[in-house]
Symmetry: C2
Subunit: 478 residues, 2 copies
């Protein structure tokens, strides 16, 4: 069955559902809306609607359901795998205007937000009021709706967990326009199947998130980082599992290579505290007393110095924190700025296997004569690997990129890993995901998709291929 | 469509799949297998198979799938809502013999277990090796498979979360006998829909769990509890949200009423440290240094004494810990022993609403002239409420029980709560769950059930009614 194609009359109808000025078509739609942050997948929606309320979303979905029109939801567009690109055309719902923080409930320690609130806005809001939202993905200008849709992880996952662990409740619009609440302000729930966790990480394919109740913690009184230089990336990463067993409970355990730090220095025009060593671990500790933090930092520093660290830099002043963490936050942008084109791999492996995977990445870079910088979360096994085109001619680049991806995903699978730790599958990673997940898992996921969205109108052609894709030549539109 | 009825020949075939001595029928099946711990739902399976390996389960499921025979999986049978009772007859798979701890992986801090391992066995095993499995449901002789199937919560959920938060990977047998691995030793995953969390809490209706990879933490060096008496249950519970905001990070925040403590004293024949007050909070703190624990205990004790506590008892000796926690662990058994018959309610509400709900329970007890003792988790909003029959005549009891349940679940819903915090829906809570969840949610859950189990052979008639139930007079068998 083919999707419907929007008529002039239908566009006029859509304008009556919202505000005519918030319904854009043709050249009114900025080029930004044709791709995401990485920009590898390009396709325009037929109409872009900047929604301001759940009722508008519900009415748009009712219309799309009836008329069989594909719908894709977009937040800040900071994704890297094409999940928010309208590969089938149709309607794009831009939720970035739904960005109100609705309620801070101090008794239940929850904050209720609309999906368009940015991560950095949320963090600031709750921290000013003595609370803490632990999920901390590198991209602070992503929306909370986007974070939930990819189950984003981030730096502090080591101690606190990922976005999933902080979502208490969701309000969603189902593909037929029905509004449903899942979970709420409750801390435990064993009442039927876990629909809330099914929506989390489903990349906008099952329902449109219109509201989220997020769990907060009391804001830790003190945060200190340690920057620890090593002779090699391998010796740095091998320390991560050992540090996790020290009973010092680090918040973050990041690894970084000198090359990537230098890119960030260039990109930001700011100096990093130290760039003399080939590899670094960056640890963070949270706590409520100076004594506690001093004691865990001392214990960790001593242990690291006895076990191969070249030095330990205390990152406790605002200036140093800013220099280290702004660099860490800019790694992706800095690598992007260092090359003509790049693609990414967001595999996750058991933490015991990260060092081996990094060494394998180095081998691949040498074998394929490609630059492949990487950085990531040594504490949770999630690596961000960037394959850079630099000056390579197109055909050779595509060939090599495909070969490197194939090797990387195969190796990650061998190590008991998964295709994506936090970026999602979107459009770009479907072949690798389908190959790794296998027929049974894909059959179950397709089945679940059909239960929520029997007409396959919500973000079609993402996470896995569907039947409608099969007979088509053009993968981007009907 | 009717389920198949097992023939003599089929029983003989089942005996070839395992070991004839592990396949029991008729009077060979102990009465224990006809009910769970609470004992309100009674029904025998036609055949009981004590499985010892995943391959046996896979072969049994292939057979059941082909012959359309209902299958229910049973662990230790410690459930309270009839989830492990063979209400449709057919095959009962007893997994309690699959109780090996397969691997402790110190690098990834995971332990891999078979589903029949008991919670207390797992706790002891990992603690002896310096690790910690935080989920701590009251019933220590439950199996891990059962804990996963109900997403059991327990005392330490306040700080660490529930069973779901500690399951990294599952191996399952699907209804058609296919074996599938979900997740693994990885700490993050954004690769497609979250099938693992769908299985967790699905009460054995979607797949048979044959192996679990569980996340561990380093064992805290020190654990201390504070027992804090109050003038009333309301003033005790009102303190819970305040304590959670103190930045002292308690592991557990339990509430208990004098009446229940006295039952436990009687039941165990052991003295509780103090029974002079009508209500108590029991707090626990974990930490790695004496200084840290002393400091949080002192801060909390001071705060409580300034805010209405009658006293603060430090529970730091082995003897006191044993006396307090063995009483807490025996509450359910003690209440059961105090009456002729009882039924339970496991609602969860936002923590800001617990005090109101408890007061409402007291009102109901008065209005209906029923004894309704309760205890539970002030720190996470999960209450265990027991309605006692005592000497009431049957008809009146049933009438009052139904009325009380109706009121309780309605009030919990009003408060933004859910039917079950950790016991599940099973068979007993279906009407309340269906009423609260509403048509759309039930339709989605039924749809998911059909995707995993299109023949509805795996634990049929649990969590929600199904079509096959509708035309039948006898709710327990065809």
């Amino acid at each position: 069955m083919k999707y419907g194609i929007l008529t002039e009359e239908q566009i006029l109808y859509l304008k009556t559902l919202t505000d005519p000025e918030r319904v854009l078509t043709g050249t009114e739609i900025s080029e930004d809306y044709s791709h995401d942050e990485l920009g590898g997948i390009h396709s325009y929606p037929d109409v872009l609607i900047r929604v301001m309320a759940e009722t508008e979303i519900s009415q748009i979905m009712k219309f799309a359901w009836q008329e069989n029109i594909p719908v894709v939801v977009r937040g800040a567009g900071t994704g890297l795998v094409g999940a928010c690109v309208a590969v089938r055309g149709g309607i794009m719902i831009d939720i970035s205007g739904m960005n109100r923080i609705l309620e801070l409930d101090e008794e239940t320690m929850t904050v209720t937000v609309e999906p368009g609130v940015l991560l950095m806005e949320l963090a600031q809001y709750v921290e000013e009021r003595g609370f803490f939202y632990p999920p901390d993905p590198g991209e602070k200008s992503a929306t909370i709706g986007g974070n939930i849709s990819t189950n984003a992880g981030g730096m502090r996952a080591v101690r606190y967990g990922v976005t999933r662990d902080f979502v208490r409740g969701l309000t969603v619009v189902l593909p037929d326009g029905t509004v449903e609440e899942l979970g709420g302000k409750i801390a435990k729930n064993s009442s039927g199947y876990d629909l809330k966790d099914l929506i989390i990480g489903s990349e906008g394919t099952l329902a449109v998130i219109t509201k989220a109740v997020l769990r907060l913690l009391p804001l830790p009184a003190k945060t200190v980082s340690l920057l620890i230089p090593y002779d090699s990336i391998s010796s740095a990463i091998h320390m991560a599992p050992k540090i996790l067993r020290l009973k010092v409970n680090p918040t973050a355990v990041e690894f970084m290579e000198k090359e990537v730090i230098l890119f960030a220095e260039d990109y930001l025009g700011k100096k990093f505290p130290d760039t003399k060593s080939p590899a670094y671990l960056l640890l963070t500790f949270d706590g409520n007393s100076k004594e506690y933090i001093d004691s865990v930092c001392e214990q960790t520093a001593g242990y690291c110095l006895e076990n191969g660290a070249r030095d330990v830099f205390l990152v406790d002043t605002d200036e140093r924190k800013e220099s280290v963490w702004s660099a860490r936050g800019a790694f992706l942008e800095a690598i992007k700025a260092s090359t003509s084109e790049m693609d990414e791999c967001d595999v996750v492996v058991p933490i015991s296997k990260i060092a081996d995977l990094i060494l394998y990445v180095h081998e691949l870079a040498e074998k394929y004569e490609l630059r492949i910088p990487s950085f990531g979360h040594a504490g949770d096994g999630n690596l961000h690997i960037y394959i850079c085109r630099d000056t390579m001619e197109e055909e050779k680049w595509k060939e090599k990129l495909a070969a490197v991806f194939e090797c990387l995903y195969k190796k990650a699978e061998e190590f008991g890993g998964a295709v994506s730790g936090e970026h999602g599958i979107g459009f770009a990673k479907i072949p690798y995901f389908e190959a790794q997940a296998g027929e049974t898992v894909i059959r179950l996921m397709r089945g679940i998709k059909s239960v929520f969205d029997p007409k396959d109108i919500l973000n079609p052609g993402k996470i896995f291929h569907n039947d409608r894709d099969c007979g088509e030549k053009n993968k981007f539109s009907d």
